[in-house]
């Protein structure tokens, strides 16, 4: 049974605007940070800086958007960072060896996707808890990547390829377009397709979902495969932006990606969350880094400030949604 205080209950009067309200409250947290930064430094509210923040958020968002679906099913994918590392290194090798960015891109995407599908198989078919399956996968991938790269880097890619990461179109960076595409596609997939609904249902109650005839194995494999493929996408944009691949490039991104999803309002227990929320989460994390750099906050203080803002942003979002 549930006690009244713990149950989010909807009132019919607010229903029409409830979804909108949730978005508003989520944006509020990001908005407040923007406002504070805008007041603190003139450099913040410039077109350049906004585009800059968006472009920086895009990499994190690619990773986090795939992860959102995994978390919606009540799982977790800890291997995405390591996945980026291996996908990028293989893609880079192929580009170097064949001179063809297309082949390289395909390699990166395929590697990412294959790793994701392995995760999915382990979680769905072998029934290994996702935390462990992907944690194990993380180590396996690191091992392979370190062995393969032996501390070296691969760098120098064709300019055409590099457009994906550092090019502009109509003054707006290409990764930002890509981000919008994935934001829209991800939102439509999650909210407006049968598969998306089934993914929510699996996260909300896997037992009930199975007994409702949802093919949970296939959906789980799909979701992990998708998360892996998004890591592949991130690895390609990464290569294109940084013009270089090394084994540990993704390592520092796993935790922020999970954080972005959770700041975006998702629950680790599944069934709650949205791709748009994740976008806001990625934005908040990026804004915090941007702000600290703009204000040149002392390096020692940065983890502390980040932590405090994180907790505050999530609290605000939750508080707001409780009110809504």
């Amino acid at each position: 049974m549930s006690l009244a205080s713990d149950v989010p209950a909807g009132s019919p009067r607010l229903h029409l605007s409830k979804d909108v309200q949730q978005i508003v409250y989520r944006l509020l947290a990001a908005g407040l940070i923007c406002l504070a930064l805008g007041i603190a430094t003139d450099a913040f509210f410039t077109t350049n800086n906004i585009l800059n923040v968006l472009r920086q958020a895009s990499l994190l968002f690619f990773l986090a958007s795939g992860l959102t679906l995994v978390i919606l099913t009540g799982g977790l994918d800890l291997s995405i960072g390591a996945n980026i590392g291996l996908s990028a290194c293989l893609a880079a090798t192929v580009i170097k060896a064949t001179g063809s960015p297309v082949l390289g891109t395909l390699t990166g995407l395929a590697t990412g996707c294959a790793i994701g599908i392995c995760n999915g198989l382990m979680v769905a078919k072998l029934r290994i808890p996702s935390f462990i399956a992907t944690y194990g996968m993380l180590w396996v991938l690191h091992g392979i990547t370190y062995y393969y790269m032996a501390g070296e880097t691969i760098h120098g890619f064709p300019p055409g390829f590099r457009q994906i990461g550092s090019g502009h179109f109509l003054g707006i960076p290409i990764p930002v377009y890509l981000m919008v595409v994935f934001l829209v596609a991800g939102t439509i997939f999650a909210q407006r397709t049968v598969w998306g609904q089934q993914i929510y249902a699996i996260g909300a109650n896997p037992v009930a979902a199975r007994l409702t005839g949802i093919p949970i194995h296939r959906r789980l494999i799909l979701v992990y495969g998708f998360s892996g493929a998004m890591a592949g996408v991130a690895s390609i944009v990464f290569l294109a932006r940084l013009n270089s691949a090394e084994g540990d490039i993704g390592e520092a991104m796993t935790l922020p990606a999970i954080a972005a999803v959770l700041i975006g309002g998702a629950s680790l227990f599944g069934g709650i969350g949205s791709v748009f929320g994740t976008f806001i989460g990625a934005l908040i994390l990026t804004l915090v880094l941007n702000g600290m750099n703009l204000l040149a906050i002392n390096a020692s203080w940065q983890p502390l400030v980040t932590g405090a803002i994180l907790v505050f942003a999530v609290w605000l979002d939750m508080y707001g949604r409780k009110k809504a």
């Binding site: 290994i128 399956a133 194990g136 690191h142 959770l262 680790l268 390096a299 999530v314």
Partner: protein, 305 residues
């Protein structure tokens, strides 16, 4: 728990494998090595088991350990008193535990995010109090805590055994333990039984903090220094050991002996691979494969029943 859990199979299998492959493995010295090396991780994994049983998570543990270790080092260097230093370290742990518990239980912030936030805070404070430098000049008697012996048994093993016993009793023989299980399994059941769950949940996180404080003593004694990045990321090892031991992330399904086995399995694996001089990149992959394998066994079993 299944009759023979995967983690036990993995542990025994590895031990046999290494005993055959590497002559030094079964020497008393090496076995005591493995145990001693596992103690700090065990001290984090024990409370982590309880926290995970409440459907929680504590990502701040490694950073809190680090901060506590620095505070301990600073206090010991200043006062030459081990007791004061330890109290300081435990106090740091308790304060962070309280903060974690308060964020999770009272403000209702998801544990992952809440403790990620305090992780940042602890890491930042560690950098600030140490100015990014190691703290050295730790007196000899602190080192004794790690390298000393009692009745021929290394002190860390005694401490580890003591804490294991403590947590075992706490979980299975006290009210607190029963309630920990209920916190994850069905919080409403506690409320209906007239038990206030929020203070309990806070207590669980504080217990984690305090134990991290004790682990900080061992860590400081081991390094003979306080270091601002010493235990960063250790919480993930602890979480993995707990999961390896068969504790699940939902519904308060935990097993403290499994955690012990999980910690030992990781210890044996790393030690054995080092003895066999397996290259680091292959070691990394082996750790991953083992972790998957152990849980795969459990998965197979649960599929059958």
């Amino acid at each position: 728990m299944p009759a023979v859990p995967g983690v036990a199979v993995a542990l025994v299998g590895l031990a046999v494998l290494f005993a055959i492959a590497s002559p030094g493995f079964l020497s008393p010295g090496n076995l005591s090595n493995i145990l001693v090396q596992s103690v700090i991780l065990l001290l984090l994994a024990l409370p982590m088991t309880l926290i995970i049983m409440t459907e929680g998570l504590d990502l701040s543990m490694g950073a809190v350990l680090t901060l506590a270790s620095l505070v301990l080092a600073l206090i010991v260097v200043a006062t030459q008193s081990l007791v004061l230093g330890l109290l300081g370290a435990i106090a740091v742990g308790l304060v962070f535990g309280l903060a974690n518990g308060w964020l999770v239980a009272v403000l209702g912030i998801p544990p992952f995010v809440a403790t990620l936030g305090t992780l940042g805070a602890a890491q930042g404070l560690a950098l600030i109090v140490s100015d990014g430098q190691s703290v050295v000049g730790i007196p000899r008697f602190v080192r004794q805590v790690y390298s000393g012996e009692m009745a021929g048994i290394p002190t860390p093993i005694l401490i580890g055994a003591g804490f294991y016993a403590l947590f075992h009793v706490l979980l299975y023989h006290t009210r607190f333990g029963t309630y920990v299980c209920a916190l994850g399994g069905n919080r409403d059941a506690l409320t209906l039984a007239g038990v206030r769950w929020r203070p309990l949940l806070i207590a669980v996180y504080m217990l984690g903090g305090a134990t991290a404080g004790v682990a900080a003593l061992l860590m400081t004694a081991r390094m003979n220094a306080g270091h601002p990045t010493a235990a960063i990321g250790m919480e993930f090892d602890a979480i993995a050991a707990v999961a390896l031991g068969g504790t699940s992330f939902e519904k308060g399904n935990g097993w403290i002996f499994g955690t012990l086995l999980g910690v030992l399995t990781v210890g044996v694996l790393r030690n054995g691979l080092n003895l066999m001089a397996v290259p680091s990149s292959v070691q990394v992959a082996c750790i991953g494969a083992l972790v998957i394998f152990a849980l795969f066994l459990d998965g197979m079993r649960s599929q059958k029943s």
